[in-house]
Amino acid sequence: MENIARKSNLVRLQKILISIIIVLFAACIVTGIFNVQTGETVSFLSVVLLFLAAPIRMIWVGEYFRSTGQKKYQMLAYIVIAIIITTALFRLLLQNV
């Protein structure tokens, strides 16, 4: 039961993420009808949030393993975050070269 209680925080976190993503995407469709540029800006923001969802979730997973004292899995969760960040930075660098 304790396990589920801990995971319920993640459920709440994901619900917040889902709500913000839905509102942003709905807003981008509506604003896009009146002003295409504003619509694209809002759309870009929603995509960025969609991308951030994975590292945010993995931070939670890492913290979950830290609280349960499972260092190996905590490290693995942080490696996943590092891979995501490195990929994004590497691509950004390639684009600017």
Partner: protein
């Protein structure tokens, strides 16, 4: 529809979304794959929430699967030019048929809701993930198609845990691919909204239905999806 099937089975939904976008909407293949990856990220957040509520996600599998399947995918794409894809697709379709047989075969604890309380066999999980990444890169199928049967059949988890863990993990894996497509300019930001909104609703509905479904129903539906994929792979292989 793609969201519902994906959410119900713990898959990404690309198996339905990509053919729909390319064949019916006329979207170029690489753009359809990029859109599909973005949709998988949304699907994962939406559907995994339902599995989390029921404690159907084993976090000990998430990070190793995400890391090692990415490594496998890099290895697979590096050697793909040296391996004839046609033979590979035929072999993979036969392997899928065997997976269907194994999935439908009655297992004593097949209907159990719980996962293994023991620590997962770490080297085995890594090997499965690498293999899933390689096969995924060589054949173009999503990771969930390989990960779910592997967790169920090899790691001996229940089909519910297999789906829940897959639903959570595929979103993490899809993020890396999506980042690459975004910076390449293949992922068109303006097209993401409608696909993501539809996918999120479908995945939520699929996840809600999926957690209530009996193990045998899930395994049957999963087998139908695998059979469709096996037939498609075989056809592509021989033609």
């Amino acid at each position: 529809m793609a969201g519902f099937v994906g959410g119900f089975l713990g898959l990404g939904g690309g198996i339905i979304l990509v053919p729909f976008l390319t064949l019916l909407m006329g979207v170029p293949m690489h753009q359809a794959v990029a859109l599909s990856l973005a949709a998988i990220m949304a699907n994962s957040i939406s559907s995994s929430n339902e599995y989390l509520k029921k404690d159907f996600v084993d976090f000990r599998l998430v990070a190793p699967l995400a890391i090692f399947s990415s490594i496998g995918a890099v290895c697979g794409s590096s050697v793909s030019q040296f391996i004839p894809a046609a033979y590979l697709k035929i072999i993979f379709s036969v392997f899928l048929l065997y997976t269907i047989y194994s999935l439908l075969k009655k297992r004593e604890d097949a209907d159990a809701d719980t996962g293994s309380s023991e620590k997962p066999n770490f080297p085995l999980v890594c090997m499965i993930a690498i293999l899933a990444g390689i096969v995924s890169a060589l054949t173009g199928v999503g990771g969930g198609i390989i990960i779910i049967p592997a967790i169920y059949l090899i790691l001996n988890y229940s089909i519910h845990i297999a789906r829940g863990t897959s639903a959570f993990t595929i979103g993490i894996i899809a993020t890396v691919g999506s980042i690459v497509y975004l910076f390449q300019g293949v992922l068109k930001v303006e097209n993401v909204g409608p696909v993501v909104l539809g996918m999120m609703f479908g995945a939520w509905l699929g996840g809600k239905t999926g957690v209530k479904a009996k193990s045998i129903v899930v395994r049957l539906v999963f087998s139908v999806v695998l059979f469709y994929l096996a037939a498609r792979m075989f056809y592509e292989g021989i033609s």
